[in-house]
């Protein structure tokens, strides 16, 4: 089992969510995030005072998948979230030792 974590542009969330559902994914976790990468920040001006916004707002999407679906799901996210410009985000996968469904106590892939 793997945990796919994707940092994405907020505006892409709905497209990615729909694409994941279409690919048979039954659950995701989304949280607001901020950070910086190659995109850096931008400058805003308030009554002439320039304020550098170094941290850019992103969404953090987490999805648990079985080993054999990892490549397919990562490809779906990349395909849906990519605009080709700096700031599209990043995806990484990490191994997961176990998963437990709280309601039933099921473990492993049955709990995904």
């Amino acid at each position: 089992m793997k945990l796919i974590t994707a940092i994405l542009k907020p505006g892409k969330l709905d497209d990615v969510k729909d694409a994941l559902q279409a690919s048979g994914i039954s659950g995701i976790t989304v949280s607001e995030a901020s950070g910086f990468g190659r995109q850096g920040g931008h400058t805003e001006v308030y009554r002439g005072a320039e304020i550098k916004v170094n941290l850019v707002q992103k969404i953090r999407l987490e999805v648990l998948v079985t080993d054999k679906k990892v490549d397919e799901i990562v490809k779906v996210i990349v395909k849906t979230a990519s605009t080709g410009s700096i700031g599209d985000g990043k995806i990484w996968t990490t191994p997961v030792e176990d998963v437990v469904r709280v309601r039933t106590g099921e473990t492993g892939e049955a709990a995904i």
Binding site: Y46, R47, G48, I51, N54, Q57
Partner: protein
């Protein structure tokens, strides 16, 4: 003596004006509240709201009498004693002459001015002021600064027959301040400067991002201020007449011109016209036209407006150059705008629109009017700045004027009011709130 008969039209307009001017203070709360960070918006709005409460009570106890009483016959203060307005229901307003409106309507109208003036000061000391200390300050400042200064500027005395008693000093000197460029805006601006200096800078000033947390709230606030300002300026005619119409029209065009002036200035300087600039420019224009609205023609109002938009936008830089944390630019908008509008009358004032006004320099009146205006500007600025600095210093040394730095960083809403404005877990757009 000819008997005065109540004029229902005038009275109705003045009653409406009272409500319009009151609305400016909640409007100001939105204007200021949107400009601070999420952690201090409630405190910012509460500084205005508590002022409504405190000054209303002070007014009916002794404030009205101190500002507009005439028994003492002093040019510096009205009368020290109980306002006793309940005994004067059947009297007409008498301010340098009898107006066909009830005295109590005049008293209520002037109360609204007494409320918003200290509320304006709060923007200079955002995010860091102890709520109790603010409440004490509002009480003392109203008593020692606003009520007397209102007497100097707004009290034209009690006229019985040909005898006028208790005319305010500046009113008697011929200062032209129709609705409070000196008594309200320079007064509040000078006090804001003094308090910003006494309290010192916020933790993280010029290091942390202190950008406005809600520009839509700022826009809402500026809209409510603009709306209420028609009562403020046109209501100051104390009648529903041509002068009220002139004041209303001038108010509108000056605010519009200043909005354009501020937007143009910042577009040239920073490359963009901003929503905060539009909101600020409108208010700067409203401030500048306040003293002048019944003494200039609409073209003069346009000139004052454009100048106010540009100059006030530029004046915002002063706090960075000179290093004082006037958090929401009370100095740049109210002090600078108030001075600009008050002095501008000396140039573009014309008796052609109002027989009570004098001609300024551009209308062949020479510099006599400008000298009267400069006296008013200088006197109100000096008095307000000095007395406010002393008051601020004393409060700071006794009960303390600032919250401690831990509470300030964590958020003054939580420490002073045990509330937070928004149910939010992380800051929007990554900034440090």
């Amino acid at each position: 003596m000819e008997a005065v008969v109540l004029n229902a039209g005038d009275t109705a307009w003045m009653l409406a004006s009272c409500a319009l001017v009151l609305l400016m203070t909640p409007g100001l709360a939105f204007f200021y509240g949107g400009m601070v960070r999420t952690k201090s918006v409630l405190n910012m709005m509460m500084m205005s709201m508590v002022t409504v409460g405190i000054v209303s009570v002070l007014w009916v106890v002794f404030g009205y009498e101190l500002a507009f009483g005439s028994k003492a016959g002093s040019p510096w203060y009205g009368n020290i004693g109980f306002s006793n307005l309940g005994s004067r229901v059947e009297e007409f307003a008498n301010n340098g002459g009898v107006y066909p409106i009830p005295l109590l309507v005049f008293a209520a109208f002037q109360l609204m001015f007494a409320i918003i003036t200290p509320a304006l000061i709060s923007g200079a000391i955002a995010d860091r002021t102890k709520f109790g200390a603010w409440a004490l300050f509002v009480t003392l400042w109203s008593t020692l600064v606003y009520f007397p200064v209102a007497h100097w500027v707004f009290a034209f005395g009690n006229k019985v027959g040909d005898v006028v008693t208790g005319t305010g000093y500046l009113a008697g000197k011929g200062l032209e301040d129709f609705a409070g460029g000196t008594a309200v805006h320079i007064n509040a601006g000078a006090a804001g400067l003094a308090l910003a200096l006494v309290l010192g800078k916020r933790v993280g000033w010029r290091r942390d991002s202190m950008r406005p947390h809600s520009l839509p709230l700022v826009m809402l606030g500026s809209g409510l201020l603009w709306f209420g300002w028609f009562g403020f300026n046109a209501g100051s005619a104390l009648a529903a007449n041509g002068i009220a119409g002139l004041a209303l029209l001038n108010t509108q065009v000056a605010a519009g011109a200043a909005l354009i002036g501020w937007l143009a200035f910042e577009r040239l300087r920073n490359g963009h016209s901003t929503s905060l600039g539009a909101a600020s420019g409108a208010v700067a224009g409203l401030v500048a036209i306040t003293p002048a609205c019944a003494f200039v023609d609409p073209i003069g109002a346009v000139a004052i407006g454009i100048l106010a938009g540009v100059v006030c936008a530029w004046a915002v830089e002063l706090k960075f150059k000179l290093g004082f944390d006037d958090s929401l630019d009370v100095v740049a908008v109210h002090l600078v705008g108030g001075i600009l509008g008050s002095l501008a009358i000396g140039f573009v004032g014309t008796s052609g629109v109002n027989s009570l006004g004098l001609d300024g320099i551009f209308y062949g009146g020479g510099s006599a009017l400008l000298a009267k205006q400069a006296l008013g500007v200088g006197l109100v600025f000096a008095y307000s700045f000095v007395v406010t600095a002393i008051l601020g210093f004393v409060i700071n040394k006794t009960i303390g004027f600032r919250v401690n730095s831990v509470d300030e960083v964590e958020g003054i809403d939580l420490s002073e009011h045990a509330e937070t404005a928004y149910d939010m877990k992380i800051s929007s757009r990554g900034g440090v709130l």
